[in-house]
Every structure is written in C-alpha cells, then in structure tokens.
C-alpha cells in the first residue's frame, strides 16, 4: 500500500476510528481504511476550498441596490485546462491505489483453508473441510438462530460460496469486504484474522422477507482450539441417533428453523410441532391423510427436495428446494426428527419436546 496514505491514516487513527466505528480487523482492512481516509482528505480539501469560495463570494458580492456587477472574463482557457487536468491526475492515482488494494483483497493465499458457504433464504450454511457444520447459534439483532462460524487466528481462510436460490451477499464489515453469492456459480472471499474476537456477518444483497435477519457471527479463535473443535464435532457426528442427527441437520446444515418453528408458533413455513401424522389440507384441494405414516414420510421427503410440489393451505410457495443438499441418510434423519416432534409419533420413539407420549392409534 501507499506508505504516504498509510502514515497519514495512522496519525489520525482517532478520526478513522470515529468514522468506521472500529478499526479494521486485518491488515488488508486497515489498508482499505487508509485508502478511504486518503480520499476523505482529498475530498475535504476540495469541499472546503469550493464551499469557502462560494460562501465568501456570496457574502462579498451580495446584491446591493445600485451596485452593478463587475466585468470579468467569460472564460479562461488556461484556468479551465488546469482544473480539468489536475483533478484528473489525482483521480488516476485514486484508481491506481484502489486497484492495488483490491487485487490484494481478492487473491487468496494458496495455503488458505477452504470453507464452503451456501446462502439460501434466510440462512448461511457452513461446511468445513471435514464435512461438519458448526452447530452453535446465537442471537443477533432479533434473530435468535444466527450461526456462529468459527475461524482460526493467524491462518488464511477462503470461503467458497454459492447460493441455493436468489442472490445474497457475504459482508463482514470488520474485514471491509463483501462478495455476492449467485445460484449458478462459485464466488470466493478470503480473510485472515489477527486476534480472537467476534465479527458480524450480514447479507448485503436484498433477498426477500427476512433479509434483515440473515446474519451470523464470525468467531476467530486460536488455531489449536479451532482444530480441536472441528475434530470434536466430527467425532460427535458419528455417535448420534437419527433423531439427534436430524435435529442437528435442521439447525445447522439446513437452517430449516429460520422458517419452521418447533414450538407451534406461526412462521413463514408450517410449524413442525405435532405436524407429522395429522391431516393437512393442501392448496390443490387434496389432503395429506392423518395416521398414514408412509404418506407423511413421503410428504416430508418430497417437500425437502421439491417444496413446490405440494403446498400446505395458507402458505406461500417460497421455500428453496434442497435437492442435492442432503444425502439419503440425512433425509432419513430429518424425517425421523420431524416425526419425533409429533405426539402421533409411534410408540417407543421419544419425542424431542416435552409433549406427552401417545400410543399409536
């Protein structure tokens, strides 16, 4: 980066901090801030100069009765050339430092650790290199189910991103970078955290009803803790019952609970509490019959892969298809989990919530 701009920005880090709220979380982010501050001082210079002249002349040459205007040249080629060419040189330089900084931002180190990111309405699905999804969640600005995405300190991390449905954008303000996610191609984004800490992740491309809740926490932790955590999740995932595995899938990999409540509360999609095994009317006039386990298992499976096939009355066809996202084994687990949430679940299966167990009728 341009050393002059960097020095200038460091001298006035108080102002930089005031403007950005918090200092950039990486060297590249602080480079970006110093470029911004360079443009800021450039702009401030012209703003004060031009507005100063304007206010001074407006006061000095305010209209007075009987006082005529003074004759001045109507144009001045040298002056006009100067104020065309001089700012142009600065603009060229501005492009150059912006381009330099950008190229550093987008070219990931070859040793970066790859993390898969899938955006869909309205959640982030993270898959680490060993195949696990981070199971922890926290509350961000009214969204109680924002995932916590762990990254290691001091190691470059590259996100390989795509979308399941509409456009999204992956923005981590503390790292001063964002990249759109598109449904038909990969895009990528890399960062390297310097110190442990939490950083907000926001969706920055409008994606529908709950766009404002499509957030997450990027949590940087020491690299050895990070490795141990990923290994622990990997080991845990082998020892789960189908219901436990299903619960973990709908919370992390699927993110289903962004729209489907587990408590009976209304949501964008139907609640799963006491859904399985009950009669459900569809928008085409037919119903999913009560107490028909095969019909219900198939309905759930189909609604994950191709949600628009059967739409429950009173709901809009807005769900993203999850075809190809889950393996057959995972689909089984999710069906088992949803079944376990119903008081019509067959005897011997323990409901996941505390509703009373009922024998099969």
């Amino acid at each position: 980066m341009n050393t002059c701009a960097l020095t200038l920005a460091q001298q006035t880090s108080w102002l930089t901090k005031k403007i950005f709220g918090a200092p950039g979380a990486s060297e590249l982010a602080r480079d970006s801030d110093s470029i911004f501050m360079w443009i800021f001082y450039f702009s401030l210079f012209w703003f004060i100069l031009l507005m100063g002249l304007m206010i001074y002349w407006v006061i000095k040459y305010r209209r007075r009765p009987g006082v005529p205007i003074q004759r001045t040249p109507h144009h001045n080629t040298n002056l006009e050339l100067a104020w065309t060419i001089l700012p142009s040189l600065f603009l060229g330089y501005m492009f150059y430092i912006g381009f330099q900084g950008y190229i550093k931002q987008v070219i990931a180190p070859t040793n970066a650790e790859m993390i898969d990111v899938r955006g869909s309405k309205w959640m982030w699905t993270i898959t680490y290199a060993n195949g696990v999804n981070p199971p922890e969640m926290t509350e961000i600005g009214g969204n109680p189910q924002a995932p916590i995405i762990y990254i290691p300190v001091g190691r470059p991390v590259q996100f390989r991103m795509t979308s399941s449905d509409v456009l999204h954008s992956f923005w981590i303000p503390d790292f001063r970078f964002k990249q759109d996610l598109m449904p038909n191609r990969y895009s990528s984004f890399w960062i390297e955290a310097e110190a442990p800490g939490d950083h907000y992740l926001f969706c920055a491309e409008y994606c529908g009803d709950k766009h404002s809740e499509m957030s997450a926490i990027i949590r940087a932790i020491p690299a050895d803790e990070y490795d141990a955590l990923l290994q622990k999740w990997f080991d845990d995932s082998g020892n789960l019952t189908p219901v436990e595995a299903g619960k973990r899938l709908v919370e992390s990999k699927g993110g289903c609970i962004a729209c489907h409540s587990l408590t009976g509360a209304p949501g964008i999609g139907p609640t799963w509490l006491n859904a399985w095994g009950y009669e459900v009317p569809l928008t085409d006039g037919t119903t999913i019959p009560a107490d028909d386990p095969d019909a219900w298992d198939n309905y759930i499976r189909e609604s994950i892969i191709n949600p628009a096939a059967k739409i429950r009355s009173g709901f809009a066809p807005v769900m993203t298809p999850f075809a190809g996202v889950f393996s057959e084994e995972e689909l089984d687990s999710i069906v088992e989990y949803i079944k376990s949430l119903s008081d019509k679940a067959p005897a011997g299966e323990i409901p996941a919530d505390d509703s009373p167990e009922q024998p099969e009728s």
Partner: protein, 586 residues
C-alpha cells in the same frame, strides 16, 4: 453581442386576449375538456407538474414510513411479543410490509418522479419559450406522452393496491422472476408500469431533440441557447438511446415470470448477472437523465440571480454532452460485488472519467459567482443548496468508484446516502428551486418570499441530518434494505429519522406556500428576477401562443454585462461600465 433587445412587438396591446391559463368560456366542464385535449406545451407541462408532485408525495410518505419503522429495531421477545415494529406484519411474512414500502419508495421516486420530473415539467414548459418557439416539434406526441405517463402511474398504483411488489426498485433476478411476492401479479404489474413509462420518456426525449434542432428562433445559434436547453438536449439523447434497453429487459423478466422462459433464473437455465448488465445499462445512463436537468436548472438559477454571464459556457455545454457519452460506459460499477476482477478494474477506471466533466461544471458554477450581484432569494438559496449537496454527493462517489473501498461500502447505507445526495440533494433540490424560479412565469402569481426561505432552510437542514448520518451507518456496517438492525446502529438511525421529518416539514411548508400563492398570491410581473432568456420577454403567465410575433434573438442568454433585462426598471439592474474598445472579453 450588442445591447439591442428582442423583437416582440406590441405585446401590451394583446393583454386582453388572456393567458394560457384563462378558463374556457364554456364553463368548468369545457375547461376540463380543453385541458385534457390540449396540445399546448405549457398546459401539458403543468399537468405533468401536478401529477409528478402527486407521485412525489406518495413516494415521500413511503420514505417517512420507512424512517419511522427504523426508529427502533424490531425484536421478538421470548414470550413471542414483537417490539419496535411499526407495521405489525404477521409473523408468516417476515418484514414484507417494510420491503414493499422501500420498493414503492424507490420505484415511484425513480420512475415516476425524478426521471420524468424536470424534463417533462419544466422542460416542457420552458424549452419552446427559451428557444422562442410556439410549441414543441410534435405537440400531439407530447400530449400522448402525458397520457402514457398517467397509464404507467395507474399501473404502479394498481400494483401498490394489489399489496405491492417487494423486489426493490432494481427488480433483481432470480428473486423478482421466480421467488418474490405472495401475489402473483403485483411484480408483473410494477414492471409493466416501468415498461409503459419508458415510452413516455422516449417520446419526450425525441420531441425535445427535434425541437432543439429545428425550432430555434432566428438568430439563435447552438451557443446562444440557455444552458438549461443544452442539459435537456443531453438528457434527451440518453432517454432515446437507453430507455429501449430497460423496456426489453423488463419484458424478458415478465416472460420469465409468467411463461417460465429461462433467461435470468439459473433454475431455468438463465443467468442472473445478465439481468444486472441489462438493468444497469439503462439505469446508469438514467442517473444522468435525472441529474443533467438538475445541473441545467442550477446553471440558470445561478446566472440569473448573480446577474453574471456563466463562466465557461462552452465547457458546461460540452460537459453535458461528455457526461451523456461516458454515462453509457460505466454501468458495471453497480456490480463490483458480483463481477470478475478484470471487469471490475475496467469499470472502476471508466467511472473516474465521468467525475471529470462533473467536476468541471462545479468549478464553472462557483467561478460564475465571482464579482456578481448575488440575490439571496428562495431560488438562489436552492441553487446554493444544490452546489453544497451535489458536491458532497459527487465527492462521496469517489470511494465508491475506488475498488478497494467499494468492496466495503457497496450495498451499504453509504451508497444510500451517496445517491440521495446526488438524486435528491442534486436533482430534487434543483427542481424545487426551479419551480420557485419559474413559478411566477408558470402561474402568474408570486409566492411569499420569507415562507420560501424558511422552507428551503428546513429542507436543507433536514436533508443533511437525514443523509449525512447515513454515511456513518454505512461505514460502520449497516446494510441496505434492512427492516431491523443491531442495537449499535440505533442512535444514528434515530438522528436520521428526526432529519427526515424535518425535511418532510420543509416540503410541506413549500407546498402550503404554493397553494397560498395560487389562491391569494400577488400578481407576478413578466420578469421578477431580471432574467435575460426569452421566457422573461413575455407576460406571466404567457399567452396561448407564447410570442406575439416571432422573436429575433439579438443577444445571448447571459449578457448581463451589456443588456438591461426586459420589463424591469433599469435602475434596479445597473450595468457595469461599457467595456473598452478592442478588449475582446467574449
């Protein structure tokens, strides 16, 4: 230039024939028919003015509702109660109401207010007057364009009544083509509205180009035209060349949504980035359709109220054309977060080129103030506000054109603040200033000066409080189009909301001032400001056929050093010493 005046012989004897505003002798109904079938550019301009102002109020109310919702972030408490939500959306629809509101605000303000605003209202009214013509080149086409505008507005309002679209005014695919909306038809209706409005825009542009080429009065060369006309010329070129692209794009979007033809949706084999290229290939040039008329108005206001020849006339005229040309090459800067590195670098470099002619104009405006005679009345205060706000809008465009900083600021509140400084601080402020400046000419009535000044100051302060705050919101990480937000942003959002209501109050006062002027305003003289362009030679309001005889131009529009303004007391507008012989200043 000599100091002779324009020939408009004996108009005083024609006062008895009435103005274009004189009602039809057959009564109210006949007057309505007369207006509805008029081909008079002045009447059409006034009809545009009132429809555009109506739409401006609709979009403005939506803006205030948006700001009211953002006063407090929405929280869903553990017991299920929702706090901080103005619009009690049912929980099955998330923030649908808010999303529809910002879509409506954006679509109405862009397609129904700012794009047609200055050209169709002031442009229609003033272009023939400034050129010394009886009317525009195609008066019937002009009336048709107003009816098309009304039809487009009707579609937009129908879409709103039919619950409204929730795509944002940009209609990005695949959300708009496959996912958005609980009602099937509302997005199709909104895009149809924009499609129809495009025709209105094209017809107006075509009409103005031909009018400027063919109907300049005798003696008026290209460089004797007021710079507002130059701005209109550049605007019209963009309208004619760019608008067909949005028409085709929106038609393709409707095809994909209704017939499932795969163009933009990957699920059908299309590509969403294609839509962005199409959309911004129109919508970026249209940014200059919005701002060029504002620049033109500001130029007139500054020249008349400083009584100074515009500094660097040709530079401003060619800067308008330069902006129109470069406008077509920079659309990619709206897509830095979704394109590749090479395309980003090319579009970033090209974007800086558009800054140059814009900067040149600002320098020229400020230089025009030098040694003038500056009247601080309402139109001039608006012009000075324009300079202040547009300069901030332009300078804050620099970090958005710079790649390294845009990757942070893209799609954040910084962008929201930037384009409001340009579109509203630039275009709308200049437009409202222009309406004040030409209001006596259009209506034949004066407004109350001190009320105008109070309104202008409230608008200026309210605007800055609203939008300057938003630069900080964006820098600190607030994304666009969020109905709710994290607690850290609440204070800045509340300051912004207070500003928005101050701004609203300012406009409300202006509106009251105009209504009062129509009802009880003093009669306006033909030339209240001492202007020199041709519209100030005729009565206020003008007669049906503008000029009583074909005017012959004998001086330039800004020869304030040598020509006494018409219909004014020369003592009020003293001239400087005659220039020494042989010293060619022009």
């Amino acid at each position: 230039m000599t100091t002779t005046t324009i020939t408009d012989s004996g108009h005083d004897s024609h006062h008895d024939e009435g103005s274009y505003l004189t009602p039809h002798k057959g009564g109210a109904f006949a007057t309505i028919i007369q207006w509805a079938t008029t081909i008079d550019h002045k009447k059409i301009g006034m009809m545009y003015l009132f429809t555009v102002l109506g739409m401006f109020m609709l979009g403005g109310v939506a803006a205030l509702l948006i700001r009211a919702e953002l006063w407090e972030p929405t929280r869903i408490l553990a017991d299920g109660t929702i706090t901080g939500q103005l619009f009690q959306s049912d929980s099955t629809s998330g923030y649908l109401t808010y999303n529809r509101l910002f879509t409506m605000h954006g679509a109405v303000m862009v397609f129904l207010v700012i794009v047609p605003g200055a050209p169709a209202t002031l442009g229609n009214f003033l272009l023939p007057l400034m050129l010394g013509a009886k009317d525009v080149a195609f008066p019937r086409l002009n009336l048709l364009s107003w009816y098309i505008y009304v039809l487009g507005a009707a579609f937009a309002v129908m879409s709103l009544i039919n619950t409204g679209a929730d795509t944002g005014w940009t209609f990005y695919t695949p959300y708009s083509s496959s996912h958005a909306g609980n009602t099937y038809g509302n997005i199709v209706m909104m895009t149809t509205a924009a499609f129809i409005l495009g025709f209105s825009s094209i017809l107006t542009g075509l009409n103005f180009i031909v009018t400027i080429h063919k109907l300049r009065c005798p003696g008026m060369g290209w460089f004797d035209m007021p710079l507002f006309v130059w701005a209109m010329y550049a605007t019209s070129i963009i309208q004619v060349l760019a608008t067909p692209v949005i028409g085709i794009t929106l038609l393709l979007l409707i095809f994909e949504r209704v017939f499932h033809v795969g163009i933009f949706d990957p699920a059908l084999g299309g590509d969403p980035i294609l839509f962005q290229h199409f959309f911004w290939f129109y919508s970026h040039p249209v940014v200059y359709v919005m701002i060029l008329p504002g620049m033109g108005i500001a130029t007139e206001l500054i020249a008349v109220h400083c009584r100074k020849p515009v500094f660097g006339y040709r530079a401003i005229a060619f800067a308008s054309l330069g902006i129109a040309a470069v406008a077509f090459l920079v659309w990619g800067h709206h897509m830095f977060a979704s394109m590749g590195e090479l395309a980003n670098a090319v579009f970033s470099a090209l974007t800086f080129f558009v800054a140059i002619p814009t900067a040149v104009k600002v320098f020229n405006w400020i230089a025009t103030l030098y040694k003038g005679s500056i009247a601080l009345n309402t139109p001039m205060l608006y012009a000075l506000s324009f300079l202040f706000l547009f300069l901030i809008g332009g300078l804050t465009g620099l970090p958005l054109a710079t790649l390294a900083t845009d990757m942070h600021l893209h799609d954040s509140y910084f962008v929201v603040a930037h384009f409001h400084y340009v579109m509203m601080g630039g275009t709308i402020i200049a437009f409202v200033g222009g309406v004040h400046h030409w209001w006596p000419k259009m209506t034949g009535k004066m407004y109350t000066e001190w009320v105008g000044i109070v309104g202008c100051l409230l608008v200026f302060i309210g605007f800055n409080v609203t939008f300057f705050t938003q630069f900080f919101l964006g820098l600190q990480g607030m994304p666009r189009r969020y109905a709710s937000y994290i607690d850290e942003f609440q204070l800045l959002h509340q300051i912004s909301t207070v500003g928005a209501f101050t701004l609203g109050l300012g406009f409300f006062i202006q509106l009251g001032n105009f209504i009062h002027s129509l009802i009880a305003g003093k009669k306006a003289p033909p030339n209240p400001w001492g202007g020199l362009s041709l519209e100030w030679y005729i009565e206020s309001p003008p007669s049906e056929h503008n000029f009583h005889a074909e005017p012959i131009l004998t001086h330039g529009p800004y020869d304030y050093e040598d020509v006494y303004p018409p219909h004014c007391d020369p003592a009020d507008f003293p001239l400087p010493e005659p220039k020494p012989e042989g010293n060619a200043a022009h």
